[in-house]
């Protein structure tokens, strides 16, 4: 059964446009740049609109839109090697080991350290993550998606989502502790 052009357009607007915030925030965190994020989201919606008949009604439209955006990001930015500088995992791991402290009380001393960091530090640390880790951290910790949703979005097994999340947060933590040290909030052992 075919639907009229107007009805198709309305259906797309009703179903796809409500997820703009999700897509924009992800694009913003991945590109680190509002203009690039804007271009990416526009491109995503245009592609989604063109291939609207390929979307299976009733399935997870957020995951479908996200995959289009992710592929656009990969085609545009990874090929052009415009990824922000990433933290070397080994380097972060070594630093993390070097500032590891003995915990003494019931409070979370790391939380106290982090409290003094600026929003810019947090944004910079997130931008510095490798793409795969950054994606799951954004989707989980900023956008609040479940493991199952993330697995569907990124098209990897649940176990991979958990391990990327764990490693991503570990890398983030090491970088944030480095910032805290640089500002004099933490000392090396």
């Amino acid at each position: 059964m075919s639907i009229g052009r107007d009805a198709r357009h309305r259906q797309f607007e009703l179903e796809a446009l409500p997820h703009t915030d999700l897509l924009y925030n992800y694009a913003l965190r991945m590109t680190g740049n509002p203009e690039d994020a804007r271009d990416l989201v526009q491109e995503t919606y245009l592609k989604a609109y063109r291939f609207w008949d390929k979307y299976e009604q009733g399935t997870n439209i957020r995951a479908w839109l996200f995959r289009i955006l992710k592929n656009s990001y990969i085609n545009r930015y990874r090929k052009a090697s415009r990824e922000p500088d990433t933290v070397e995992y080994d380097e972060a791991q070594n630093f993390y080991e070097s500032v590891r402290a003995q915990t003494a009380g019931p409070s979370n001393p790391q939380e106290s350290l982090f409290r003094n960091l600026l929003d810019d530090d947090v944004a910079k640390a997130i931008s510095g993550l490798p793409d795969d880790f950054r994606t799951v951290v954004i989707l989980s910790d900023i956008e609040g998606l479940t493991y199952e949703e993330i697995a569907e979005f990124v098209d990897v097994p649940l176990g991979t989502v958990r391990s990327r999340l764990h490693r991503g947060r570990k890398l983030l933590r090491a970088q944030l502790l480095e910032y805290a040290r640089n500002r004099g909030f933490a000392t090396k052992e």
């Binding site: 446009l17 982090f114 900023i142």
Partner: protein
């Protein structure tokens, strides 16, 4: 619970997806093991910090308007009888794409085979001069099509384009992952009864067009042919390149059963760099 098991459960514990019994055991271990507790608290603090500080930002209203406008434009454009290939290419002229792309695209051929611009089925009448693979490739690359050929696949995903060609040509179609190029799509057609494949990429603001045919068929020289010097070079080295009078470059290579001819308005070394360093192994064998 031992430390290894505890470490494996840190992330789900932080995300509060552990069952009650497992959570109790987890917290018991955290109480008794300072290093493990440190790890847990660290990940908890990190997640909490990111969630609080890296907040969701609302989509700028200007972007919401721009999206709506582009969808309306797309809907209007789709009501005119043009091929989705030319619509796709025209979309690359949208303000959010570099203007140079649109300029280059409006001057560059859409993919078709032969000289019959009213072709709908990808076949053209055979004439002796049209058997030349080089000339066919050059004509395809240079001609401008106003939408008489319907594109068969428009996708940036190599798997999609490969899957499209499955069973259509009788020879293995290659969709090389060319370095510094974005895949645009492909068309399966035929010259008379001889199947052909055409794959198009975007390299910055230029198009790279790849024509593919069965190498054995070309070697036979009956339905398709090549100049002798080109065949000799392909047999000797596996490749042939030339600069055309207008400065564009043609590069031919053989991979298994497939002859490929790539054309682009690029200097020779730039096209070779795209072909040589492809990530799939189906590019030129330099």
């Amino acid at each position: 619970m031992n430390c290894k098991h505890f470490q494996d459960l840190i992330t789900p514990a932080v995300d509060r997806v552990l069952g009650t019994t497992e959570l109790d055991q987890f917290l018991e271990h955290a109480k008794a093991c300072p290093p493990c507790r440190y790890e847990y608290e660290g990940e908890l603090a990190t997640k909490d910090l990111v969630a609080r500080r890296a907040r969701m930002v609302p989509t700028p209203p200007a972007l919401v308007s721009a999206i709506s406008e582009s969808l309306v434009r797309e809907r209007t454009n789709s009501s005119t009888p043009r091929s989705s290939w030319s619509r796709f290419l025209e979309s690359l002229r949208a303000p959010y794409v570099r203007p140079a792309i649109g300029l280059a695209l409006s001057a560059i051929a859409l993919v078709y085979v032969g000289v019959d611009l009213t072709m709908n089925h990808g076949t053209i009448p055979m004439t002796s001069s049209d058997r030349d693979v080089m000339r066919q490739s050059i004509n395809n690359y240079r001609s401008v099509l106003s939408g008489t050929i319907v594109p068969q696949v428009v996708s940036a995903r190599h798997d999609d384009v490969l899957r499209f060609f499955d069973g259509k040509t009788g020879f293995p179609v290659l969709v090389p992952k060319l370095r510094h190029c974005d895949l645009v799509g492909g068309v399966a057609s035929s010259y008379g009864t001889t199947p052909l494949a055409h794959v198009v990429y975007k390299h910055n603001d230029k198009l790279v067009y790849v024509y593919e045919a069965c190498w054995k068929t070309v070697q036979k020289g009956e339905n398709l042919k090549l100049p002798r010097r080109v065949t000799a070079s392909l047999l000797r080295t596996g490749w042939y390149t030339d600069t055309l009078p207008d400065g564009s470059t043609i590069a031919l290579w053989v991979r298994g059963e497939t002859l490929c001819a790539a054309l682009a308005d690029l200097p020779k070394d730039e096209l070779i760099a795209c072909l040589k360093n492809d990530e799939s192994g189906d590019g030129a064998p330099w």
